[in-house]
């Protein structure tokens, strides 16, 4: 590969990687705080994309769609946590399986609803005209929309990082992730925080849904591939670790990008291979403690 080709692959991997960060954040924070693997995350990502499409079609502005989808899906996520997940977890605090099945059922329900409302066919979300074409960066050319997707997702991810690492809210989130009981004893309203974090994670997934949806295409199953990658990123980084999710997502973006370029037929097994190697060497992921299983 020429240096230009390598640079292009790195940039493409970075674009995928920062968007994976957005998807992975919700997964890892929800797991860290509640011990729940959210199988409805793919559906929330997909609903975000479709809401972006619907808003864009109705109001004629991609930007309004990009703003409205996260707000609506964030509210939906918060409602799911408050209305279904919290009562279930209060009754069965030790069960890993019941929340997983609940979110699995919800995912199917949302996917079915999307089919009812928007049809099962693949549709496309038009990118704004200003982001059409390609830009020249030094000696390489890169699609303008990809560059936008890279910068927008990176900015959003940086914002989330600032919130988690530098604000009072972030401090309580990190405390509740490390030890929810101790955080509650110290006066953190962990139940309310769970709702906030679930909503926030859903909103980020929806934002990534709109950004990536306009890059590729929309279908009711569009979430499963992306969220599977995000799952793997989170497992590599260590379930429950926010730093781990970022590192895992960025690493996976590069593995994906170079995997597609170098081994087009077998890049997916490559991703699983990376995960298996990491898990054999470190069963709880790169940044995961042995604390919670």
């Amino acid at each position: 590969m020429s240096p230009e080709a390598i640079l292009t692959q790195v940039l493409m991997g970075l674009t995928v990687g920062v968007n994976l960060v957005l998807v992975a954040t919700g997964l890892t924070l929800v797991f860290g705080m509640m011990g729940v693997i959210n199988f409805a995350h793919a559906a929330l990502f997909m609903l975000g994309a479709y809401l972006g499409l619907a808003t864009t079609a109705r109001l004629g502005s991609f930007w309004l769609g990009l703003a409205a989808a996260p707000l609506a899906i964030g509210a939906l996520g918060a409602a799911v946590e408050r209305g279904l997940l919290r009562p279930l977890r209060t009754r069965f605090p030790d069960s890993h399986l019941l929340p997983l099945l609940l979110t699995f059922g919800l995912g199917l329900f949302f996917e079915g609803m999307a089919k009812v409302i928007w049809g099962a066919d693949v549709v496309s979300l038009d990118k704004p005209a200003a982001l059409a074409g390609a830009v020249t960066l030094g000696r390489i050319t890169f699609p303008t929309y990809w560059l936008f997707a890279l910068v927008a997702a990176a900015a959003l991810a940086a914002l989330v990082w600032l919130v988690v690492e530098r604000t009072a809210l972030g401090l309580t989130i990190r405390a509740a992730t490390q030890d929810p009981t101790m955080a509650a004893v110290l006066g953190v309203d962990v139940a309310r925080l769970n709702t906030v974090v679930f909503g926030l994670g859903s909103a980020l997934a929806a934002a990534a849904g709109v950004i990536l949806g306009a890059m590729t295409s929309l279908s009711p199953q569009m979430g499963s591939g992306v969220v599977l990658d995000a799952f793997i990123a989170v497992v590599i980084g260590g379930l429950g670790s926010f730093t781990g999710a970022i590192v895992g997502a960025l690493l996976l973006g590069q593995v994906q990008s170079f995997g597609v370029a170098l081994f087009p037929a077998f890049h997916t097994p490559l991703v699983f291979l990376v995960m298996a190697v990491v898990l054999v060497l470190r069963p709880t992921g790169l940044f995961g403690g042995a604390r919670r299983t």
């Binding site: 009562p87 019941l98 699995f104 089919k115 379930l239």
Partner: protein, 317 residues
Amino acid sequence: MSAPLRWTPVALALALAPLGVGRVYSAYYLNLVTWILIFALFAAALDLALGYGGLVSFGHAGFFGIGAYAAALALRHVAPSLAVSLGLGILAAAALAALVGWFAVRSRGVYLAMLTFAFAQLFYEIAVKWVAVTGGSDGLPGAARPRLHAGALVLDLADKRHMYWVALALVAAGFLLARRVVGSPFGRALIAIRESEARAAAIGIDVDRHRRLALIVSGALSGMAGGLFAIHQNFVSPELLYFALSGEVVIIALLGGLGTLHGALVGAVIAVGIKEVLSTWTDNWLVFLGALYVLCVMCFPQGLVRLAAPGGARRAG
């Protein structure tokens, strides 16, 4: 009434079911019962790992699917024999379970769920991508289905009624085997591990070895269910390896009640039956299926079998 007596009418009705085809109901309903039986075996196999061994697997479709593919490929390329194709299906699934167990035996809870899930997805991807062998996402149509000769009796598996009897006999054998495993010293040790790993280890039970073995037995039985399904359908596709099926089988086992084995049959009747009825009634069955799953988890988390007999309540998942 003792347990064998209670099951006699059920067994009798199941054994005589094919005689009603064309007279009382159409062949479709016999197929439906065959599917229910196969999925009951699959769910019982999962129950062995999950309900008895406490192994939270979210990748059992991997064992079912690889059993199905191995059986279908054996029919095409090796020999048109039920024993060979089903045997290879079981062997392939058991081998995969041994591999997964080797990787995953130290993982617990959600990590185990993710690892099993990842392995199943890996084989799903291979089934989709390796078009030359698996036919890719179009799936693999079957070859000629085997005939069984047992003395003067000839069973032609292309005949749905004959296939049904074979499936019934094998599923019953699978259930009996699972029951024997649960009742054996090995099964008792497994339950001890589920209840308290530390205490089980303290009295000298090799925890990792028992968990690995449980996964292999569970995987082998799942592979048998998958092989039966492949021979019955005469068709395999990557859907059989997809994680949606892993979720479905957990729902079936949960619906019936974990740690009961026969709950799997109740769960399969309800889940497979409802899915079939829904998909013939409406194109939007996914909405109802999802809502139903949510309802099951919120309202009957202990399983329906225990709802009927509340004495044996045990914690869920």
